[in-house]
Amino acid sequence: MNENLVIVLIAMLGGAIRVSTPFMFVALGECLTEKSGRINLGLEGTLVLGAMVAYAISYQTGLPWAGVLAAGCAGAMLGAMHGAICGLPKVNDVAVGIAMMMFGTGVAFFFGKPYIQPSAPRLPSIPFGAFADNPNLRSALDVNPLFFVGIAVALMMAWAFANTRVGLIVRTVGDSAAAAKAMGFSVDFVRFASTTVGGFLAGIGGAFLSLSYPGSWNQGLSSGQGLMAVALVIFARWSPVRCVLAALLFGAAGAIGPSLQSIGVTQGYYFYNAAPYILTLAIMIATSSATRQAKDMPGEFAAAK
């Protein structure tokens, strides 16, 4: 039993690293968008489209990193669409997000049909566990470079928000559109750019799904991870670094099911699959309040609620 516990914990560590990466990218993208005062619920569609594009390009060119870049560009395109549409007067950003979610998944399923069968070259992992004798530990420590890219992006974003002019502009637009306008910034352009870059990041998260873990393309690949990442930003209180920590927590929760399966516990497989959704909901309940607004919430975002 003790041995099994160790196996489960190691599998959860590996799972936390693997499963968290797409959460991390989507959450960072959404964090940037929400910092500018807008919410993009369409990142679920972006994630799926990114996964499909990455897989297709990697299959066609044989270059998985080209797939990652293409996925980012596809995500940026969806983000730009969302950003541009929401810039029009009287258009509701939540509704546009739902529409973009449907549009993104529709396009991904349409063009992704021929790529369900073939196998595309995947992103190589870095074997940090080479020193270990334990095969479970070794596979748990096979870390994809994108994991570190995600952490680097988070640190860079945190630094940029605090120390750069661009970061200050984004924060100003997100906290008070009127103040930003008075300072001569174009609110719509800043939000458009933030949503576009946010879409780029979410697209890369999708590339991780299809090119690293689980590492194949099919229509059930994402099933709500993009949406959970959006909820996760609220939990992380709009801080890029806390987004990474929250993503790791979600990754570990998502890994419970497969970890238990690895020691032969198959009962309640579907229940453990539901665990991340239930955790997300529980966290949303715990961190929200009907009477006071969440701490550190961008002002414009709070006003829109």
Binding site: L41, M81, I85, L88, P89, K90, V91, N92, V94, A95, V96, I98, A99, M100, M102, F103, G104, T105, G106, V107, F109, F110, K113, S223, G224, L227, M228, V230, A231, I234, Q267, G268, Y269, Y270, F271, N273, A274, Y277, I278, T280, L281, M284, I285, S288, S289, A290, T291, A304, K305
Partner: protein
């Protein structure tokens, strides 16, 4: 409270009642009201044009596509009945979006309420089929489905009211949870072992299946859907409850200041919405599938979102819009076979219409033709 960008036709038309003679007033109302018809139709037209370009770029003929939609969805008695059959869950899941939208909640978890409702109906049927007569059994299944769906969406509504949890995200999360719960039981303890191919609950005996509306091949779900749409239209526009609900949707703070029971209104509206989707699940189980299985997750709940938005959350208008999408849905198979297009083609069209429709929101109030002559006050 999330504010939908869409105003309600009644309030827009009734804003400034002029004291001019009756005929001019009728004309003015017609002009302002027609804006809410012309702009959505314009949006569908533009989306269709974009979709035609999409097909042309792929080397397919848009004319073929239209002909196949007509043939597969509306061309003959068989396809019309197929269309109507499919529009029944669309009407009910669109109602699940439209009623909360009236109070300013964007709930997109109809799919989950449908699945949970259908599953509840199937579970209730298990002990009943051997003992109770079909009519009583079906009545209990119907109630179970409606209650399960109502409770499901009530979670999202209540969390919004009591905890300020974003109802759009929570309702979609609840959909994933609902599907996982159904799969857990259908592939586990409730699995019917006589069917090795597809995990499902024990199928309903023949006499337990809901019949067709006499003279047609369409099950009773369509009639129930239309009936509910009419009833909810009356509830939302002709009763004090509907009036209070519109105040909550129009100005949340004013509703609170008026001392309206806002929490109860939100809860009741969410429960009505969930019950509608749950009933859709009941008919999927008792009229089509015969058991609860993964086929319940067919995307009706998501198409229903678009139907509700296109109908501008008006329950009556939902009916024809749902029939239109039921037709496109029914034609999906023939389009797939004849044009060698993937089944997701319909999803692309759906997404395009939705996106263009939301862009068209920006057009309201921009055209002078829809404004009556300036009214003097």
């Amino acid at each position: 409270m999330l504010k939908t960008a869409t105003g309600q036709p009644e309030t827009a038309a009734g804003l400034s009642v002029s004291r001019a003679d009756g005929f001019a007033e009728v004309v003015r109302r017609f002009r302002t009201g027609s804006e809410y018809v012309v702009i959505p139709i314009l949006a569908i037209t533009v989306a269709s044009a974009l979709f035609a370009l999409f097909l042309l770029a792929l080397g397919r003929s848009p004319v073929d596509f239209v002909q196949l939609v007509w043939k597969g969805g509306f061309g003959n008695a068989f396809s019309i009945q197929n269309t109507l059959q499919r529009s029944s869950p669309l009407i009910l899941s669109a109602l699940c979006v439209a009623i909360p939208a009236r109070i300013g909640l964007i709930i997109i978890g109809g799919e989950g309420a449908l699945v949970v409702g259908g599953f509840a109906a199937a579970v209730v049927s298990l002990p009943l089929v051997d003992h109770a007569p079909p009519l009583i059994g079906l009545a209990l299944m119907f109630i179970a489905a409606a209650v399960a769906g109502a409770l499901w969406i009530a979670i999202a509504g209540w969390l919004r009211y009591a905890r300020g949890v974003n109802e759009t995200i929570s309702s979609l999360l609840l959909t994933y949870i609902g599907v996982a719960i159904m799969n857990f039981f259908v592939e586990g303890v409730l699995r019917d072992m006589t069917n090795p191919n597809k995990p499902s609950t024990r199928p309903l005996p023949h006499e337990y299946m809901i019949g067709k509306i006499p003279g047609t091949d369409v099950h009773w779900g369509l009639a129930v859907g239309i009936l509910l749409a009419v009833a909810l239209q009356i509830l939302m526009s002709r009763t004090t409850f509907g009036f209070a609900a519109r105040i909550v949707g129009g100005n949340y703070r004013a509703a609170l200041a008026q001392g309206l029971p806002v929490g109860r209104i939100i809860l009741v509206c969410s429960m009505i919405a969930g019950a509608c989707a749950g009933i859709a699940g009941f008919f999927e189980v008792a009229a089509i599938q015969g058991s609860a299985n993964a086929s319940l997750v067919a995307g009706y709940g998501f198409t229903g979102i678009l139907v509700a938005f296109l109908a501008r959350f008006n329950p009556i208008v939902i009916v024809p819009v749902a029939v239109m999408f039921g037709g496109i849905d029914a034609a999906g198979g023939i389009i797939q076979r004849r044009m060698a297009l993937p089944d997701a083609t319909v999803l692309v069209l759906r997404g395009l219409i939705f996106v263009v429709l939301l862009i068209s929101e920006t057009l309201y109030g921009r055209f002078a033709i829809f404004k009556g002559p300036e009214t003097r006050t």
